[in-house]
Each structure stands twice: as C-alpha cells, then as structure tokens.
C-alpha cells in the first residue's frame, strides 16, 4: 500500500528535472490534507496527535504574512500517492493500524523536513519546525496522551488562528499574557524537578534562566501596548476567545491525576508552549534569543527524555506553613503537585484478609479527616490526636488508598483484554479504582467485600467504556455526539466550550432572524414543528391538510437553510481545510487600513521596533 508513496518520496529526492510548483506552501497544505485523511482512516485523532499538530503548524505557516510563493519541485505526485493510501485504508479496515500510524508519522516527518529546508521565510520555518518536532517526538520518544498535551495543542491551534493578524495589539497582548502563565507553570515544574533531583541541575538552571529572560521580554511587550481601545471589535473578540480558551485550559488548576513529570514532559516537548512562535507573534526583539534558547533546550530534552526522572514523594510531607485556611485552600492543589508517584507497598494481586482491609480503610479515613479538618475544631475521628501528627496521617491515608488499589490492579488488565481503546479505558479504570478505594465502606458489607466491590466498579466502567478521546462515557441512554477533531475543538470533553457557547448564541440569533423573514404561511407551520407539535396537530390548528403542512414545513426549512448558508461567511471560525479565517482577515485588513496616527503613540512605539 505504501509502495507508491515510497517511490514518489525517492523521486522527490533524486528526481532529475522534476515537475515544479510556483507555490510550495499550497502544495504542502494539500499534502497535509492527505496525511490527515490517512490518519483519520487509521483511527480517531485527537488534537494532540502529531499529525494534528502538523496540520495546525501548517496552517500557521501558510498564514504567515511574509511567506511568498516558493519555487520548488512539486509535491503533487506524493500527494496523489498519499490520497490513494487514504482510500485504500478506508477500504481495508482490518489493516495493522499501529504499524500504519508509525509509517505515516515517518512519511510526514520526512516530508515536513523536506519542505522546511526549502522554505526561506523564518516565521513559516518556525511553524514547520513545530510540526516536525511533534513528529520527531512521536517517532523517537513516544509518549502517552496527557491533559496538558491537549491544552498545549489548543494553545498551538490558537497561535495559528491569530497568525494572520499578528501585528494587532490584541494579539500581542493576549499572546504575551497567555504565555506568561504558561512560562510560570513551566518554571514551577522545572524548579520542583531540580529540587527533587529529577532534572540535571545545569540543564534546569539554563532552562530557568531562559524562562525568566523570556518573561521579562513579555513584560516589555505588555508595557508598550495601549489597552484603551482593545477588545471592542469583532476581530479583537475572536482573537481573545481563541487565545483565552487555550489560556484557561492551561492556567486552570492542574489535573491531580496527571503527575508533575508528565506535565513537565509535555511542556518541554512543546518548547514551553512554542516559545519561538510566541516570540515571533509578540515582535519583541529581546524575546527572540531567550525563545531560541528554550527551543534548543527542548530539542536537547527530546533527544534524551530520560533526563527527566520520576522521583518518589518524601514519606511524610513537611508540616504546612502557618497560613490562613482560605489561602491554604487556594494553594493546596499547586502544593500537591509533586514530581512523584506513590507506589503500592503490597504486591499487585495480593489477596488481603479482612483485618488488613479494615486497617487500610481506617488509615484512609484518618488521612482524609486530617487533610480536610480544622486543627482548632478537629473532627470526631481525630479527637485526641496531636495536630502535629496530622501530616503523617495524611501520608498514611494516601498510602492506604494506594495499597487498596494495588491489591486489585490485575483486575484492570483482566477487564480490558481485547477491548478497543484499551489504554484509555485502563487509564480511566485506574481513576475509577481510586474513587472506589475512597468510597468503599467495610461496615456496609464486610471488609472482605473490597475485591468484589472493586470488580463491580471496574465492570461498570468497562460497560460504559470510553470514547475515542479516552473520556469515560456518561451514564446516559441518549445519542452520543461523535467526537470531532481538527475543527478547532479538542474531543477531551463534551461540555460546550466558551467558543461554542458564543457560536451557539450567534447561531440562535441568526435562526431567529431568518425565521422572522419567512412569510407567515411558512413561518407558522415551521415554528409549530420546531416546538415539537405533531404534524396532524399543526395541520388542524392552521386549517391545512397534513400533506400541505408537510410541504410547507419542508419548503420553510429549505428557505431557512439557504438563508443560513448565505450567512455562513460571517462565522467567527473556520476549520483547517478552509485555510483562512474571514473574521481575523477582516480585522487585519481594518487594522492595516487604520491611519497610523489614530492607533495612538503606544502602539506605534511597539510597531516601530
């Protein structure tokens, strides 16, 4: 199946007098579409997938304002061969998907490198390097999917979306603010890893120094932006929405299920949130060298990801600092983020007897009480226990939960044998198992009932399964929306994102307006139909026959569809395939048309650099 692609790749490299293209970037965009089609035929694709990241990076490269048509050998034949592979894949669903996914990554890596070295524009080159690095990591140092990785993919997508309006102050402000939050998180994780001995000291120091320098550069960028007229235009709002959503994902509280080393790994793989691309977008000269150093250090990490080691938590955490309870509550999640995983002290699959399970449950309950209780008003279970011992109890409680889980871990593998999405399902089952270990009440059944309770919990989790994004399905009988990828939305959650809420709001307003423009004879039956009234009832109420009511509703729907299609050009976001974003383009055009003096001295100061 891949022979034609291999042949065309060889021709591309060695071809004498190959067919030429005048616009390599257009050729490459077409080729990436074929790569994405193949990846989609292989299986569900998340936005953090290397091919998806390559697609985003290509969007960013193609949207770079300075990129001029590039004369180069045409990628047409490779693209056609890839399109054939995509079709073959769809026809043969029983192929070795893992092998094909690996082959696809290799082909994509080779191609993006080929395109990058032939691209003269530095900004477009930086984008292509981001795609190449994602593939490099997937090939040479593969890793599992992580929540931070998904957030970083959203961030990269947002950077690509605002690329056409990169000179706009709102872009420079939002990008600098968002990246500051991201740098802060990276800084904290690197420092923590350094303290724990999980990262070589020299490497950590170099990284910390570059992060601080880049943060100072962002500070300079922000100090030069005049905020007085920001945020009131539609273009500004589209930019803020795109970047704000990504920033919120990344600056929110860390996912407790995700160990710190996994988060740091994702950040390093992404060059601390694409530092070079950010520096290009903010146009601050002092940002460039620091970003380049971060990029180099990230590549160094990618060649040896083992330099970041997992380190065990200390047996007993240090006593908490004397802070007010509310402040402590706000900081607790960050303080809890340690570079470590707690290991079970019981061998996997050990059958625990009743007294052992009872003792573990008691330790667990004491730990929970110590973690949440107020020393001035201790809960009943902790009466008489010196509060200086509470941190120890918290550690013992966590260990007890880990041991309970460890005793039944083989059940997870037993339940996920030969299931689709086994790795994701397993991950979800570990989470469910932790919850079960916290919930299990030995008084309600008997201590020995723990194994049955865990088994039933896992069985229910398996029956519900996970979707293509690894998210456990809800307990619902309603139709499940399919996960959509690469349309600017990550499939990690079915909760509508803020962007979707705004889009929905626009959509509802557009439908209402279009409905109002229909003639009464069509509007009335359609409105009644939209309110859920049966056809017979509508016909009776309006004095038509059922067939007339049916015909009018159909006609009204078609008119409405035509009207809404005509308005589609005003949508605030368009998918990758379309290649551009009309709202952002319009905003850029308006910005460029604005007389220089009316932009204010602060902006000009920033622009002149």
């Amino acid at each position: 199946m891949w022979q034609a692609v291999r042949r065309e790749l060889a021709r591309l490299e060695w071809g004498v007098e190959p067919p030429l293209t005048l616009d390599l970037m257009a050729d490459w965009t077409q080729t990436v579409s074929s790569l994405v089609t193949i990846r989609q035929a292989i299986g569900p694709i998340s936005t953090a997938d290397p091919i998806a990241l390559l697609a985003t990076a290509t969007t960013g490269a193609a949207r770079t304002a300075e990129v001029k048509p590039i004369l180069a050998p045409s990628l047409g034949a490779v693209s056609a061969a890839l399109a054939d592979v995509g079709q073959d894949m769809a026809s043969y669903p029983d192929l070795d998907r893992k092998r094909d996914a690996a082959t696809l990554n290799h082909v994509a890596y080779e191609l993006v490198h080929w395109v990058r070295v032939r691209t003269p524009d530095e900004q477009a080159k930086a984008w292509l390097l981001a795609g190449e690095t994602a593939l490099d990591g997937a090939i040479h140092a593969p890793t599992t999917r992580s929540a931070v990785g998904v957030g970083l993919a959203a961030w990269q997508g947002a950077l690509a979306a605002v690329q056409p309006v990169q000179a706009a102050p709102i872009v420079r402000r939002s990008v600098a603010l968002g990246h500051l939050a991201l740098l802060r998180d990276t800084h904290a994780l690197v420092e923590e890893a350094k303290r724990a001995g999980a990262l070589p000291e020299l490497y950590a120091d170099a990284l910390l120094g570059s992060i601080r320098e880049l943060a100072r550069a962002h500070q300079t960028t922000l100090s030069q932006i005049d905020c007085r007229r920001l945020g009131s235009t539609r273009g500004d709002q589209a930019v803020m929405l795109k970047l704000g959503t990504a920033v919120r994902i990344l600056s929110g509280r860390p996912d407790h299920a995700e160990p710190s080393h996994v988060r740091l790994d994702a950040l390093l793989r992404s060059s601390a949130g694409q530092a070079v691309l950010v520096a290009n977008l903010t146009s601050e000269p002092s940002a460039q060298p620091a970003a380049a150093r971060i990029s180099r250090l990230s590549l160094e990490y990618l060649t040896n990801p083992r330099m970041l080691r997992e380190v065990d938590l200390p047996k007993a955490p240090a006593p908490p600092a004397p802070v007010e309870p509310k402040a402590a509550a706000a900081r607790e999640p960050r303080a809890a983020a340690r570079i470590a995983l707690m290991e079970s002290t019981v061998s996997p699959g050990t059958v625990l007897d009743g007294p052992s399970i009872l003792a573990l449950c008691q330790a667990r309950d004491l730990g929970v009480a110590a973690a949440t209780g107020d020393p001035l008003n201790p809960p009943e279970i902790l009466r008489g226990v010196d509060s200086s011992r509470w941190p120890q109890l918290v550690a013992e409680g966590r260990q007890a939960v880990t041991d309970l889980v460890g005793s039944v871990i083989p059940m997870v593998y037993a339940q996920t044998r030969r299931t689709p999405n086994a790795a994701d399902t397993r991950g979800q089952m570990f989470v469910e198992l932790m919850g079960a270990a916290h919930r299990f009440d030995p008084q309600r059944t008997s201590p020995e009932g723990w194994a049955s309770y865990a088994w039933m919990t896992l069985k229910h989790a398996r029956m519900r399964g996970v979707d293509e994004a690894g998210v456990v399905r809800k307990r619902t009988t309603g139709p499940r929306p399919s996960t959509v990828t690469l349309d600017g939305r990550d499939p990690a959650s079915r909760t509508p994102g803020p962007g979707e809420v705004v889009e929905d709001r626009h959509a509802v307003a557009a439908i209402t307006q279009a409905l109002g423009q229909l003639p009464t004879s069509l509007r009335e039956p359609l409105s009644a139909s939209m309110q859920g009234h049966p056809l017979r009832e509508i016909a009776e109420d309006l004095g038509y026959s059922e067939s007339t009511a049916h015909r009018r509703i159909k006609e009204a729907r078609e008119l409405l569809k035509g009207e809404l299609d005509a308005r589609r050009h005003d949508s605030p976001w368009v998918p990758f395939d379309t290649g551009t974003d009309p709202v952002l383009r319009r905003a850029q055009r308006l910005f460029e048309q604005t007389p220089t003096l009316s932009r204010g001295p602060g902006i000009e100061g920033g622009m002149r650099r």
Partner: protein
Amino acid sequence: MPAESIAKVDLLLGRATMLTADRWDDLAAMIHEAMGISLLMAATHPSSRPVNVPGLTRLTALECVENALREVQAWDLALAAELPDLAQLRVLLADVRRDLDSSVGRRG
C-alpha cells in the same frame, strides 16, 4: 451581564500580570490564574464599546487587584450560573489582595 465591568477586570488583571511577570511565587501564580479567568470572561461576554481604566498605567499590582476585586464584588451573585468561574475569581482575588497587602504593607 456587566460586560464593561468584566472588560475592566480584564485590563486590571492584565496589568497586574505584567507587573508580576518577574515573580515566580504562588502569589504570581494566583494572579496569572485570575487573569486566565478574566481573559476568557471578557472574550465570552464582550463589551459593545471600548473600555478604559483611568490611570491604569500608574497603578501598582496591589491597586490593580483591589480595583478588580471591587468590580467583581459589585457583580450580582446570581451571575454564577452564567459565569461558572465567578466564585473562583472572587476567592483568588481576595486571597491575592490579602497576600499582596501583607507583603507590601498597608498604604496611607
């Protein structure tokens, strides 16, 4: 929806973030988190006209946070249904204000 007030909070917290960009402690982390919330709020509930905070460029981080807290505390608590991060923003700002206040000392 107090769109203009939200936009003001976004501007204030943007400045506070800029002023604390070279700090690497928990306090700066909380300011950045609050900024992340307000940035998205301002994007999802945009103001129909340009918003200005008089003297913004002269404000200290503490003053920015205090002004932002005043704005947020003036919002109707019933907005929590539409602004799911409202409570978190209130708590974060209150904590940041207290910590900043104790670290820089009472003014006046």
